[in-house]
């Protein structure tokens, strides 16, 4: 964390001004995007926001509490499914559940998006709490593999609970509630939450647990409680992210929530810097855009002199190599565990207003 101990009041004001300008510029960008971008571009733009939420929630565990969890996709699935089942109308549910009718008590429930997404998040948090309480007694590798296991179990359960989840067919035609406004408000709130949390004594306790569990315990920190809390809150945020994702692409099925999805989020967290909020935010934007821009890699390539056939998979090859190169040659990612600050920027060179809303 940055320490502002020596900064003069004037300087802080100037940096705050920059922040306000950047935020304002970003709001304008979001409005412009919402009004004028084509559907595809707008979708990528909004996907960035969702990945910010997801990356921050994973970073809270991996980066700030030092818990290496690989089960994130499972919690996203819980959030996405609960929220979707609560917002879909009975007619829509009937259309989806043509193989096997839906359980009646759930069929007739339809509530607005806001309470639905919060219940989705809470459901994910509850599952996280149930899983966390036993699993968090395990250490590093064991924890990683056990969370991975739980992620898979959640997915298998969803696939098999056909009367509730429609099984492998998934749910189609969800109402498109994840608007530009919704997703970016969510991203802003989650970012703000993380920044405030990490500046508080509770965030400090999490970092202490990450740095040295035994010493933290000896300093009077209830390490287990901190871990369970972190895991639960992270699951909540993952559930929110999953619900937003579901209501953006309007289709969810169990195959969406494999380890692959966790990998994508992990990629963002590692590239941005494990333990850096601004790193996660920047990397979420960069990776999401790259993922879409690089889709051309999977298509036939035209090098003028020769053309290649379509190469599905090339994009993931590029991303895997990228991840490994970063881990091997720049272990600490883009930001390390530092945070973005205007001083850091002006220290490099002036590069204005490229990214707003992140450096609160």
């Amino acid at each position: 964390m940055k320490t502002n101990a020596t900064a003069s009041p004037l300087k802080i004001t100037r940096n705050r001004l920059y922040t306000l300008i950047a935020l304002g510029a970003f709001v304008v960008l979001a409005i412009v995007a919402d009004l004028f971008f084509d559907a595809f571009t707008l979708r990528v733009f909004n996907l960035c926001a969702i990945y910010i939420v997801l990356a921050l929630s994973l970073n809270m565990l991996n980066g700030f509490t030092g818990l290496f969890s690989l089960g994130h996709a499972g919690f996203m699935a819980v959030g996405a499914y609960v929220c979707a089942l609560l917002t879909m109308s009975p007619q829509l549910k009937d259309m989806n559940f043509f193989l096997m009718p839906m359980v009646p008590w759930l069929r007739n429930v339809t509530i607005p998006f806001l309470p639905a997404i919060i219940i989705g998040g809470l459901a994910a948090a509850f599952v996280g709490f149930l899983i966390g309480a036993p699993v968090l007694r395990l250490r590093d590798d064991y924890l990683a593999i056990a969370t991975l296991g739980f992620g898979e179990i959640i997915r298998v359960l969803i696939t098999n609970a056909q009367p509730i989840t429609n099984g492998a067919q998934g749910l189609k035609g969800l109402p498109r509630f994840s608007t530009t406004f919704t997703v970016w408000i969510a991203a802003a709130l989650v970012t703000l939450f993380m920044v405030l949390l990490m500046r508080s004594s509770y965030g400090r306790a999490m970092k202490a647990v990450r740095d040295d569990e035994l010493a933290a315990e000896a300093m009077g920190i209830n390490v287990f409680k901190v871990k369970v809390t972190s895991f639960t809150v992270s699951s909540f945020l993952a559930g929110i992210g999953g619900a937003l994702l579901g209501h953006m692409i309007t289709t969810i099925d169990p195959k969406m929530f494999t380890f692959m999805l966790t990998f994508n989020i992990l990629l963002i967290v590692v590239l941005g810097g494990i333990g850096s909020i601004s790193g996660s935010v920047i990397a979420a934007v960069v990776v999401t855009i790259l993922m879409e821009v690089l889709r051309f890699l999977d298509e036939p390539l035209n090098f003028i002199v020769f053309k290649t056939a379509a190469m599905p998979g090339l994009r993931m090859v590029v991303f895997s190599i990228l991840l490994m190169v970063v881990v091997i040659y720049r272990q600490r990612g883009l930001m390390g565990n530092k945070e973005f600050s205007w001083d850091m920027l002006t220290g490099l060179f002036v590069r204005k207003g490229r990214k707003g809303g992140t450096n609160v």
């Binding site: 405030l196 949390l197 508080s200 400090r204 035994l214 010493a215 300093m219 009077g220």
Partner: protein, 259 residues
């Protein structure tokens, strides 16, 4: 030695700690009085650190009980024992490696995160007030031990001796009644060791502490300890005041046998 028992700060009652076939601590009976500085000495592998780990709740004893004041603290979690008023340092310094000096101390102030996660995150008035007090208290502590000017340096970047001091400050920030120091003089030259012992006496007086410290070089602690226990292979082979320990044939044998 028939002082009233109400004076007792820490007592271990027939404590055993076994790992498989190895008995690391064998029938340990410590009796430490308020405001005493007590040395726990013995050759390497004598079970001193294991005894610390039992007292601070890192290990649960195989047999026996630990009393702090009149409370039975056997089997409590380390953080609960810290909350009762026992703080410790580690033999192999364990600072929070990504934190600066001030944050290292602040963590130890946070003991009762009573505001909870949301109070802290939302910076509720109660939290803000406590955080301010914690900062002030931490800075005062750092000033007292001469580390204030390094408050914003990374803890692990300090020279070795200052890291040891920082660990002691960090333990003090939990506002303990009793302090357990695990080889505080390790790696120091004789001059530094003497200074450290002075420092230990000073904090005992200033913070009204009872101190138990581990050392395997007997000479270092002779001057500062009022009472000593000598362990060898887990067994308490002698205890008493420094002068009697120095003359004890069993102690001499244990030390000559090893060093």
């Amino acid at each position: 030695m028939s002082e009233p028992t109400s004076d007792l700060m820490l007592r271990t009652d027939h404590v055993f700690m076994r790992f498989g076939g190895l008995t690391a601590v064998n029938d340990l009976n410590l009796e430490i009085r308020k405001n005493e500085i007590v040395g726990l000495i013995g050759p390497n592998g004598a079970g001193k650190t294991t005894a610390f780990n039992v007292i601070t709740g890192m290990y649960r004893p195989s047999e026996g009980k630990v009393f702090f004041g009149s409370d039975d603290i056997t089997g409590l979690k380390p953080h609960q024992i810290t909350a009762k008023g026992i703080a410790r340092t580690f033999q192999n310094i364990r600072l929070f490696k990504e934190m600066n000096v001030l944050e290292n101390v602040l963590v130890a102030c946070d003991m009762s995160i009573a505001t909870g996660m949301f109070g802290a995150t939302l910076h509720l008035p109660g939290y803000v007030k406590r955080e301010k007090e914690a900062r002030k208290f931490s800075m005062e502590l750092l000033e007292k031990v001469g580390l204030k000017h390094l408050a914003f340096e990374k803890g692990t970047s300090l020279p070795y001796g200052q890291q040891r001091r920082l660990e002691i400050v960090r333990a003090l920030a939990t506002r303990p009644k009793m302090l357990l120091l695990d080889e505080p003089a390790a790696g120091m030259n004789p001059q530094e060791s003497v200074e450290l012992m002075e420092f230990i006496r000073k904090i005992r007086d200033e913070f009204d502490l009872t101190i138990l410290l581990i050392e395997h070089h007997m000479q270092v602690v002779m001057g500062v300890c009022e009472h000593m226990y000598v362990l060898d292979y887990g067994v308490t082979i002698a205890h008493g005041d420094p002068a009697s320990i120095q003359k004890n044939p069993k102690v001499i044998e244990a030390y000559l046998g090893v060093d």
